[in-house]
């Protein structure tokens, strides 16, 4: 066991934890987006609410979600520790600083991470917490189902009818885009996966992912905003 602790406390071990949890969270984003696209369906929320009910009641998904919460916390806490340590290792800053070496996102991953975490707190507080631990989300029964499901669909539409929430989401997604822009390819480098042929593909995929996923998420609140505007 000693060797494993030595590894986890080594500089490369700490980065490996960031890389693996990061890749896990990256893959979660795609699944989360795929599910949420059902919010755009014009079916009174049937498909989304049934899906949300499945996601909160299926024992296997409940188990995986514990892994997800653990992954988020591990990534966040480890990231903060690494950022503090790195700041200490750098010591005094330069009088003249150059932005030339390294892009802005790569140097501000901790700041972007904190922004994303703050966004997550608002996001989960508004939906996850209210759905799981309060009665503020109403029950609804659709034709052909013998059980009632929570109407998270209407809750989402209600939340996105408030402009400040939409703005918070757009800021959170911008931070996510920049975090992914560096994080995606960096995770592969940390795993030592470099190759003359495949690294350019990974880098291109990372850029595409960091743009497409946040845009995909942003479409949902923007769709609600446009829909509300056209109702007036």
């Amino acid at each position: 066991m000693g060797w494993f602790i030595d590894f986890l406390t080594s500089s490369i071990g700490k980065k490996l934890v960031m890389s693996l949890t990061g890749l896990f969270l990256i893959s979660f984003l795609a699944i989360h987006l795929l599910g949420n696209i059902q919010l755009l369906f014009n079916d009174g929320g049937e498909s989304f609410n049934v899906y949300a009910h499945f996601m909160t009641s299926n024992p296997l998904i409940k188990f995986v979600s514990i892994g997800l919460y653990a992954g988020i916390l591990l990534h966040a806490i480890q990231g903060i520790f690494i950022a503090i340590q790195n700041k200490k290792a750098k010591g005094r800053k330069y009088e003249v600083s150059t932005l030339k070496n390294g892009n802005w996102a790569s140097k501000n991953m901790a700041l972007l991470g904190i922004l994303i975490f703050a966004f997550l707190c608002i996001h989960m507080g508004d939906f996850w917490w209210k759905m799981k631990f309060t009665d503020s989300v109403e029950m609804i029964t659709y034709d052909g189902y013998d059980y009632a499901v929570k109407d998270l669909y209407s809750k989402v539409y209600y939340s996105f009818s408030q402009m400040w929430i939409v703005i918070v989401y757009l800021i959170g997604l911008l931070a996510l885009a920049m975090h992914l822009y560096h994080g995606f390819q960096s995770a592969f480098t940390t795993l030592g996966l470099v190759h003359k042929k495949y690294t350019p593909i990974i880098k291109a995929m990372g850029i595409a992912y960091s743009i497409l996923i946040p845009i995909g998420f942003a479409i949902i609140p923007l769709y609600v905003v446009v829909k509300n505007l056209s109702n007036y």
């Binding site: 080594s10 500089s11 980065k15 790195n86 290792a89 800053k93 150059t98 991953m109 030592g192």
Partner: protein, 247 residues
């Protein structure tokens, strides 16, 4: 050409240090270090303390010279050391800010001179081959594929100046350490001790208090020998292989 210099002055390790401004008359053909020599001559004639800075070969191979010039280790040009930078890169009337390499593992000894013993300690922990492998002819007797020897040489060109640490926002020594490990790993003489070398050099690097690499890539940009960050990715893989691989 007349230049305004803003130079970091610090009496010793304990002194908190400050910037001081100077004016110097330089020629375009002078190297950057010769320009500092002129300044120091001036200061000596004025009975003032000359500016301390590291230098030795002045031809870009020893790794002694350092300096962060206007925010960039070894100055504005790619693939050169401070001693290879010439004053023709500047215009008369320019202000040049000169600072020491900054990293907690590179404490300032005096003015622009930093203590880079932490690099020596990393080398002593495994950056060598334990047995005598003979002279150059013996090396030439072992057939090595050209591509491999070129790659090893690319890593071997690291002069250990520490510009990578100076450029890194995390003060990480991964580019230096990985260059040394990659160089030796590619040669049959170095392969034998590879696993222990990886383990021990990483351990020592962490012990010296260097930061963690977060793949920013600033090191590669500032490296006077243009060492690639591919070395770092390789080292990550080597380390995982060493820790999780069989004995």
């Amino acid at each position: 050409m007349e230049l305004k210099l803003k130079i970091w002055r610090q009496k010793n390790q304990k002194d908190s240090g400050h910037f001081e401004s100077y004016k110097v008359e330089a020629e375009e053909h002078m190297s950057f270090l010769e320009m500092l020599d002129v300044l120091n001559q001036q200061l000596i004639e004025q009975k003032k303390e000359p500016v301390a800075f590291d230098h030795d070969c002045r031809e870009g191979i020893c790794g002694s010279c350092s300096l962060v010039i206007n925010g960039r280790p070894h100055g504005p040009q790619a693939g050169t050391t401070t001693c290879q930078l010439h004053m023709r890169a500047y215009k008369s009337g320019d202000t040049i800010t000169i600072e020491p390499f900054r990293a907690s593992s590179f404490p300032v000894i005096k003015d622009l001179v930093v203590d880079r013993s932490s690099f020596d300690n990393i080398i002593q922990s495994g950056g060598y081959i334990s047995v005598n492998t003979g002279q150059a002819p013996d090396g030439n007797a072992i057939p090595i594929e050209k591509d491999l020897s070129s790659e090893a040489f690319d890593s071997a060109t690291c002069i250990g100046c520490g510009a990578c640490v100076a450029a890194c926002p995390n003060g990480s020594a991964m580019l230096f350490t990985s260059a040394k490990i990659n160089h030796l790993q590619k040669m049959p003489q170095g392969k034998v001790e590879h696993k222990n070398r990886v383990k021990n050099m990483i351990k020592q690097m962490d012990k010296e208090g260097f930061g963690q690499c977060s793949n920013v890539g600033a090191c590669e940009v500032e490296c006077p020998k243009e060492i690639s960050t591919k070395n770092i990715a390789n080292l990550n893989r080597f380390y995982l292989g060493t820790v999780f691989g069989g004995e």
